[in-house]
Structures are given as structure tokens and as C-alpha cells.
Symmetry: D3
Subunit: 252 residues, 6 copies
């Protein structure tokens, strides 16, 4: 979208009824070997791939996301993790969706890559749809965490040979994200900086103020040592398929 | 707390350094056989049980919670599901926590029972701690979804004899909640009104406006037919134990 | 409402055009002899009594209310008085009213018991009605401080034998509230803990920060010594009558 | 304040520790014979009179106030009644108080003339004091409805000869305000346009949307027919005395 | 508007389709020789003059404006400069415009005199128009900085004889404002207190916290020494003409 | 910043006291020949160039900016112009600045490229500095519209040979932006799609709702026909110099 002139964008909306993709991510630590922009870059990558398949337009990503939680993303205290307050994130996505919808987009797909964003994005989508409907705009909004569903065979392949796989709950800066970045943005991954640390043993609750000792020094919740470009390809192509199916299914 | 005179409450805080429990739930449909207040009642029950063990005080519950999502709670469109906007819920819990903390409580435990509340409560706890700290109050806040962790043996017992257990994702108005309510509030459960419907087959995304056809007519995402008081007891006592362990561990 | 299944609640709204009652109170000190929850308990009591007469449904109370003022409720500094910011209270009642109204309730009665809530509730009702009307819902909202009107004969009976009655301005934790609680929730009143103190002599203004010396040590603005269950019955039954008349008159 | 150069204002604050008065009123209908600005003009008049006595500075009035309620000010639907949302009024007074306090004013007096403003101003004062204290400013804030207290002899004089005085609850556009305006701003009163109507018989509750039939056609809740400049003088001079006493007492 | 009775105001709106003028200014330092209220007084003056020509009504001014910036108004740190937060100013003007528009005004003219208000007023006008349109009101809003356009000949006359005119960017408390105040409010100008200082040499950026050293001691960004009543008349009459043309052109 | 691992980012802040640059732009129509992302791309370009010179880190841009105004950017109604509400933009920049500042950045430079952002960014910077200072962080924030100052000789070169140069007020999608994009992002400029239209003759005011007829069909306020890569280089290098001087001067 940023690279289109306005009239071309208008033509895509009016003549093609094009889907507008809005990637949402985060600026969040992902250990020593992955960049701070891992989340929003992956969201943008997914949106671009799927848009190319279905003929959509990709809006500029919402790069900053919801506050990182200690048990899912290492917490807000770690240097570089730069998050938005809940109200800000909701308002930001709301305004962007309304801006897109009031110019005539009738199919909008929000592609999320940051677990903590979940309910804030739901709130923004819900409210934007209401704002638009009140003013006579008919936009429908689809919202999807691109990695929400993984085939069991894929998981088996990802964890092949690991005696003790960490499980999805500890996949922050671990095998999955490392592998996907090796496939999509290999120049931003530095496998030589990866360290192997004991996985955290989180209790089933949170405390405020956060206790930095809960998280390994690197910020990763599990090791990405076994990640390869091939695993990344497997995952990414599967996710591209899931998102493509979703938008095709909902937007005909 | 509501039943104490203020000076007795003050004594508990100052002399006993008592933990103040804040239950947070929802007013949300749970099928034909469970009441709308299932969530907040269970949160309050848990808080009371644990407070009795550790000598704490239970504040009045926050009964209304975050917007019900269609894939986890049946959605906001269903009659009776009465939710708060994100900003309202955050502000509400924030203000209550600040009110408790500025009067001298140094240990506050937020007990959540509604999945969709998660990140909103995190935001409120985070911010309340900041508000209090800026003004010289030292409160520490623990936040826990009471059912966050379940022992595998318990799950096996819950699903014993079921060829095709629904899994936790579809446990809305299903075996777990039904069983727990049979144990804690049996007078509010009407097993005769339960219906057996095909479980929904949710896609891995959400759409706005919501599509009511995604959810079975009853609003339950799986059947609670096999629920018994005994299963409820098993679950509830385990959860009481987890929450008790949590507050004892964090608040010494 | 919390005890109903959603379809029963829906039936009440659609077939009976039932009135939904929303009690609003406060968590506020009421001296040594009355509990912190006095206000919201009385609001809930009134709503239940009237709902039983007119066939309505009582929603979960909004237990936390507006900031206690020093000259009407003893002030926000007293331990246990746990209040909401103005914006929070307005948003909370607004969201609850909108949640009720958009599911089809056309008659909603807000029953208030906390003097300081007054204009915040007006704002919330006004705005919720607007929010609903914009979206095609026809709810009408009635808002009433249950004790707004008292017959002179009742007041004479309440103050019988007192040479120097305090007047309604000082009736915080005094004869009226004590008597009503003796009637409605006697198990929560401890007459033995009541102390007699000089009534405060408030100036006709407020100062910020508040001056704690303005209020007697107990937090009561007048003595409830002469309260009896009979006086409570007199008051409560009169108020039940006033609220019943109000909803019958407005909602036919 | 508006007429002072900044350095003179600074001198007054630093050398004289001058009290800064902030009048708050409303733009609200007051019948056919009084102007829409009655409230804020009276607040400003009071502030000026008292400032002249005690050597203070009068800030520009906050002319627009809280939403007029039907039973106290005739309601928001009447043409010309131009009010602020609750959050706006709170933020407006907050910002003005903080602006004054952070430049060194240590004594600030908010003079209110509009009944519906009450709790919103409390909230703003409370919060502004907190905002200032957090940043090291020591301002104390006094807030007063200038007409909060009236001597019984004065009331007797005001109502002399009336068989059936309306009472303070119906004194909107009635004898009191008419008389005070005849004394303070006689050029804005047109006694020839006054009409005598039956006083409204308000129920003890409010409904939303408001019912315009509750209020007499003129918008006055009682007649100001018997108002005279002499009555106005009596009232105004008494109120000037009360406000003067208040600020002298609190600010030494 | 403040001096009209409500029915007269209503008649003006309904029968004359009168333009309602809303002046917006600031309370901001203007050196030693001009009063803090210079901005809002000039906005009100302009509105009154134009309203008299076109038969409009002038609403009470919004006296407090947006935060003064150091390079245009001397900055927020200077004693007496009393500003509103952005959200407050937007909400304030929004509410006032909506209040005016929902009572039937179809032509509203916002007259601004404070440079920093610009985009906040745009936002408020934009949103108020939306709020009104959603509810069926047709108000059109014109917003104008009264001094936005100056004829080159006028500027030549203003700066006649000055070897090195400061330019409009430094005209804060300088020749233009001084001259206009000498013409409109001469009793509030004290030419004897004016000092001549070196003009500031601002860099093309801002820093936070502000650096007070950037601004001359007086707070003026250039000298008003050469200001005369005649120059003021020239400017004011030209601006009155521009604003009159604007409202006539847009509102027929 | 997005491409750094967190510990490298931390090292840059702690050991090098690195300046963090935050580009802020807009998604706004710029005629048929320039892309919607022109503003934020130029802001990012400037930040990157200057950061390379002074050794700073560039944070992810804030791509969406303040509502486009009709007289400066063609207005909000044009398809593709996707803007944020004022409160959203302020909160967004505030949160990002606070996120950066609380992790230890002491030098933050906000680089703006969208005229309408101006006062919103001031507000955000002002408030973020306050938020950080209250919590003990010492960040200083510099905010600069990169094109705020242009040397007269440069302007002469830009307009060389034009009999009637448009002036900076009409430079939206005109010679300046076209030339700079030809230099910085030539692949996104399509000179063949440029059309020559009569320049708009804006009145000195705004109206709401906006009148689309005020703006030429292309959305450009003047023609970029004479733009060349050489002119772009001249402008860009000058601006790079100004921004570099600014940050060197303020941050030593």
C-alpha cells in the first residue's frame, strides 16, 4: 500500500474488491541471535506472501505491539522490548482499520504474530467494525495469528531427534522462530551468538513487579540450536497455506 | 472485605499483613444448564477457599469481564453475555487495586476465571503497581487464572471413558465447568436442560462481525453430559491447591 | 440474572419485557459497627425486593462506587474505602447498560445507594441511552437513589425522642443506615462496637488534600445508637414502595 | 489574571502568596428573564468580590459546566443549555489547576455556582492535587459552591410573604437567582418576560431519554416574581461573607 | 450568547439561521506590557465585530488553549502561561460544538487566535461534525485563525521604517499584537513596561525538557516598540474584513 | 533497532550513549506519481542517514500520522490517506518514547516529515519526558521537522526558471517532494503519471465537512513537473546536514 499511488490503491479497492492486509507484530527481544523486529517482520512476510497469492494489498505494519509478558515473551523489563499500552494499541489498530474501511475496503485481514496482542486486536476489530457500520461502511474484518494452527506432522518434524521438546509455550526465540527467520530473513540471524540455557520453569501465575530471575539471561525460553532453514521452510509454507485458506474461505 | 468493618480490615492489613484477594470473572452464557454468573462465582469460590487457608481477605468480585470471544466463550452476541470494553475493565481493576494498595495492603492476589480477561488484567496489574510505587506504596500483585495448570492424571480422570475428549479449547460449558459447578453451586446447575450437540469446528481465526452460526445453539462448545460432582471435587480441590501454593510461595 | 441460564434470561426479556435492575453502591467505611459493603448490599436488597414485586431481573451489582467525599461519606483516605475514578465508574455503568440494552432489554432500572455516585450515574445513563439509540435499540433507563424521598412522618418516627436530630446530611453510619442494616442484614451489624462521638461541624466547602481531622474517629457522621430493627423496617418498606411506584409508573 | 502581565502575576504568587480563584459555572437556560450565562457570571462575580477582599487573583472562568439535569436545571435538551461531558469538565479543571499550581500558586480556590458540577469538580481537585504533589508542588485547593450555606433568617426574608415557598430544590430561575442577578447584573434581567407557571412536581428519579414534559415551558422551576434587588443584595453579601470566611479560614 | 435568554437564542437559530461564533484563545504570557489574556480577548473581539456585521451570536470564549510552544509563544514553563492538554482542548471544543449543533445551529464559526491551537481545533471540528451528523444534525463548521492572511501592503505599513523586521515567526508580543491591543483594549497595554531585547535565534527544532534560555527575559520574541493604535486599527480592520468575508462566503 | 539483537541494542545505549531516532510520517496521498508512503519513507531515510553519521540507532518508524488537512495535504477524504486520531498519535509516540527511555536511552531524536503532526508530537514528547522523569529516567528528546529550514539559495535553485513558484504552502506532491523521492526512492516515482493542474486557491480557513472541490483531482497542490534527481540531492543533503547539526548540537 505504501508503494502505491492513491488512485491505483483506489482502483484495487473499487474494481478488484481487493483484500487489505494489516500486519501487526511487536518490537521484542528474541535472544542474542534474533533481531528485535522478529515479530513484525514475520507478520509482514506472511501478509506479503498471502497477498501475492490472492491479489491483495499490504498496509504498513503496526510494528509496536502489546506489552510483552514474562512467561510468553520474556517480559517488559528487558532492554529493547518496546511496547504500547493496551489503550494505545487498540486505538491504533482501530484507527487504521477505520481509515481503510471508510475508503471502501470491504475485506480486511489483520495478520498477527505476537501472542500478547490477541485480545487487544479482537477489541480493535470489534470496535472498528462497529464504527464503520454506524457510518454505512460494510467492511468485514478477519483476524488471525498466523501460527495459530500447526499440523502434528509438522511439529513432529520440527522436534525430530529432540528427546525433550519444549512445547509451544516455551517457543519464544526457540526452534520455531529461529527456523522461520533462517528461511525468511537469514541475514538477520546470527546462530553463532546463540547460547544454550536451562529452560525456565514458570509458575502458573504472574507477579507485578515482574521478577527478572524467571527468564534465562538470553531472553529465549528454549533453545533454537536445532533450527534449520528447512524446518523454517516447512513451517512458513504451512502457515502461508493456512492464512491463504482463511482469507479465501471468508472472502470467497 | 464487604462484611468487615473498616477498622477490622485495617487491623488485618497492618497487623497480619493479610493477603487481599480480588476475584475477577464474567457474566457470560454457559449453555442451558449453567448460570450466567458461572465465571465470577467460581472465581469468588476459589478466592474464599484459599483465603480461608492462608488467612486472607476477599474483596468484592469484579463480576463483569472482558468481551466474550466466539471461539472461547461463545461470543458477545448471545443474550446475557454482558461484557466490558477493554479500557473499562483495565481501569476498573486498576482502580480497585490502587484503592486496596494505598490503604496499606502489600500482598494482593487477583484470581481470574475468564480466559478472555488475561491480558487486560496483566495491563491493569502492571499499571496499578506503577501507580502505587510512584506514590510510595509497596504492594506486590499476583495474578492467576485459577485453572491455568491441571495435572495430567486429573485430566485423564475427567475424560475417563470418553472416546473423543474435546480438549481444553472447547471446555466452555463442558465437563469441567459443569462438574465444578455441581460441586460448588449444585443448586444452580440443571442437568436436565443440557443438550448434546455437535462440537463446533472452529477455523483458526476470527471474523468481525461475528458469525453466530459458528457456535452450537446451546452456547456450549462441548457437552457436559459426563460431569459429576466427584469430578468437580477433584478439579476444584486441585485448583485450590495450586492457588494456595502460588500465594504461599510468592507471599511467603 | 447471574443465576439464570442465558435462554431463560432471553425469554424474560423477549416474552415478558422484563425490567432489568442494576444496583450500584460503594465499598466505603460505615463506622465500627457496619460493614464496608453496606451501600452495595442495600442497593442489591432494594433491587431484589422490587424485582420480586414487579417480575424483574436483578443484574450483578456494581459494588465499587465513586470516590467518597469527606463531608458525606467520611472521605477517601479512610482504610477500606475503595472507590473508582469518575471515568471508570461512568464507563463501567455505561458498558453494563449497553450490554443489557443491546440484548433486547427495553426497561432498565439503576438503583443507587451511594450519594456521591449521583452525577456519574446520570452521565452513564445518558450516554448509554445514546449509544443504544444510535444502534437501533430502544431501551429506556430509570435511575433512582432509593432513599431520595422520605415521608416526613417516617423521619419523625426515626428521630423520635432525639432532642437534636442530626439531619440527613450527617446520616452516614447513623440511625438510618444502622436501622436498615438491622432489618436487612442483621448478622453484619455489631451494635456493641458503636461509639458515640461528637458530630462533625463541617464547613460549607472541601479542601484537597483532605483534612482527616474533620471526621470523627469512627468514621460515622452521627450516632446510630437509637437505631432499631423496627425503624429499619419502616424505612426499608417505605423505600421499597417508592422504588416500586417509580418503576411501575415509568414502565407501566 | 487575564488582565495581568505575567511578571506581575508571578510577583503576586511569589511575594504575596496570593490566592488564585477559579470560577466554574455553566451555560444553561434560566427561563425567559435571565441570561444563559447566569451561573458562570455569578461565580465570577463572587470570585472577584472575595478576591478584592483578600487580595487574590481571579483566573478566567470555566464557563461551560456539567450536563444540566432535568430536576435541578431543566435538562440538557433545552436550547441554549450547552454542557460538557463529565470527562471533559474533569480534565478541563484539572489542567487549569495544574497549570496554576505548577507555576507556584499554593492557595487555589475553586468557586462553583452550578449544582451539577459538584462531584466532577471534587474529582478534578483531588486529581490535580495528586498530579501536583507527585511533581513536588504544594498547592492546596479549596472548592466551594458559593451558595451552599444560607442563614435561616435570610431564607425567611427571601420567602417573606409567600404562602408556599418553593424550597431550594426548585430554585432554578426562581427568586434567589433572579434577585442576585438584579443586584449583580441588572442590565441582563428582563422582569417583563417572566411568566408564572405551575411548579413542576418531579418524581424522585430520572429517566433517560429525558421527558421534556416534566419542566415548565419557561424552564424555570419556580417563579422569580417576588425577587427584588434588595433580596439579591442580602443573599449576595451573605455569600460573599461565607466565601471570604472560607478562604481566610483555610488559607490563614 | 451568555447574555441572551434561551428562547431568544432559540429564535435566532431557528428563525434567522444565525451563525454561532466560538472564540478560542489562550492564557499565555505576552511580555511585560501585554496581559495574559491577550489571545482570547482578541479572539472574542474579532468574533463580536464580525457577529455584529453578519447578525450572529457569540458563544462564551474558550479562554484556555493548547500548550504554548517555546518557539512560537515562549513556552509552557513561564509563569502565567496556563494551558490545556491536547485531549482536553479537543474534547472541550468538541463538546461545545456538539452542544451548539444539537440545539439546531447549522452554521458555526470557530475563531482562533492562538497558533498552537491549530490542529487540535481541526480535530475537534472534524469529530464534532461527525458526532452531529451521526445523530441527524446538519451543522457546518468553519474554523479560522483570524490573522491567517495579511495583505503585503499592510505588512509593509506595519514594519515601515524598521530596517530589520522580525517576520511573523517572531511576532509574539511584538508589533502586531501590541498594536492590535492598543486599538482594541488600550487600557490593558502598558507601553512603559516594554523592554527591548535581542531577538531569539531559534534552532529549527524543539527539545524536551524545554530550555528556558532560548527565550528573552520578557517573553516577547520581538519588540513591540513601534506599535501604534493606528497600526492596530489597520490590522484589526483588515482581519475583521477577512473573517467577515469567510463567513459570508461559506454561509451565504 | 529492529535488526539488532537486544543485547547489542543495550550495549549501544549503555556504552555509547547512542542517540535513538524515531521517524514519524504519514500514509497520505501524494498525487498520481508518488506513493502513499512518501512521508514516512522520507522520515526514515533522513533518520538513517543522520544515524549513520552520528552513530545512532533508528527505531521502527511511526508510519501512520495525524489527519491530513485539506489545505496542507489534500484532506482526509481522499482514498488511501489513512490517519490516526489525535489522541492515538499522541499516545503512540508517547508509549514508544517511554519504552525507549525507560531502557536507558538518554538521547532521543524524533524526526518528523508530516506537517500536520507538529503539535501532536510536541504534546507526546512533552508528556513522555514527564512520564520518564517521574520514574527517574533522564532522557532528553529532540523533535524536528526535517525540512523546517531551507536555505534561500536552495529554494532559488529549486524554483529556477519557474515564473510563478508555488511557495512552500502548496508544496504537497510538488517539486520538493518529487525531487527528493527521485533521489531517495526513484523506483517509486512515476513521472509519466504526473498531471499538470491549476493550483488550488485556498481560502484562509477550513470547513467541516471538507469540500473535496478545493483540491485538484490528482491531490497535488502544485506541479512536480520540474523536479529532478539533482534538485532532490540538493534538498536532501541540505536537510541531512540540518538534522545532523541539530542532534550534534543538542546531544554534544
Amino acid at each position: 500500500m505504501s508503494e502505491l499511488a492513491w488512485d491505483e490503491y483506489q482502483r484495487r479497492l473499487r474494481e478488484e474488491d481487493a483484500i487489505v492486509f494489516v500486519p501487526v507484530g511487536a518490537v521484542e527481544q528474541h535472544g542474542y541471535h534474533l533481531p528485535l523486529g522478529t515479530d513484525w517482520m514475520m507478520a509482514r512476510y506472511m501478509a506479503r506472501r498471502v497477498a501475492a497469492k490472492v491479489g491483495g494489498v499490504v498496509a504498513e505494519p503496526i510494528a509496536y505491539g502489546a506489552t510483552s509478558q514474562i512467561r510468553t515473551g520474556g517480559g517488559p523489563h528487558r532492554c529493547g522490548t518496546t511496547s504500547l499500552n493496551a489503550e494505545t494499541l487498540i486505538a491504533l489498530l482501530h484507527d487504521v482499520l477505520v481509515g481503510i474501511g471508510r475508503h471502501g475496503a470491504r475485506k480486511i485481514a489483520v495478520i498477527d504474530s505476537h501472542f500478547e496482542n490477541r485480545f487487544f486486536l479482537d477489541e480493535a476489530c470489534h470496535r472498528a467494525q462497529d464504527t464503520l457500520a454506524l457510518r454505512g461502511h460494510e467492511a468485514r474484518i478477519l483476524k488471525m495469528l498466523y501460527a495459530e494452527r500447526i499440523n502434528p506432522e509438522t511439529m513432529a518434524a520440527v522436534y525430530r531427534g529432540m528427546g525433550d521438546p519444549p512445547g509451544l509455550d516455551l517457543e519464544h526465540g526457540g526452534v520455531l522462530e529461529t527456523a522461520m527467520m533462517l528461511y525468511c530473513h537469514p541475514e538477520l540471524v546470527d546462530m553463532s551468538r546463540m547460547v544454550d540455557e536451562a529452560r525456565p520453569d514458570f509458575p502458573p501465575y504472574d507477579v507485578y513487579p515482574v521478577n527478572p530471575d524467571w527468564v534465562p539471561a538470553s531472553g529465549c525460553l528454549s533453545s533454537g540450536r536445532t533450527a534449520t532453514r528447512e524446518i523454517g521452510e516447512l513451517l512458513v509454507e504451512e502457515f502461508v497455506g493456512h492464512v491463504t485458506d482463511a482469507v479465501r474461505s471468508e472472502f470467497r
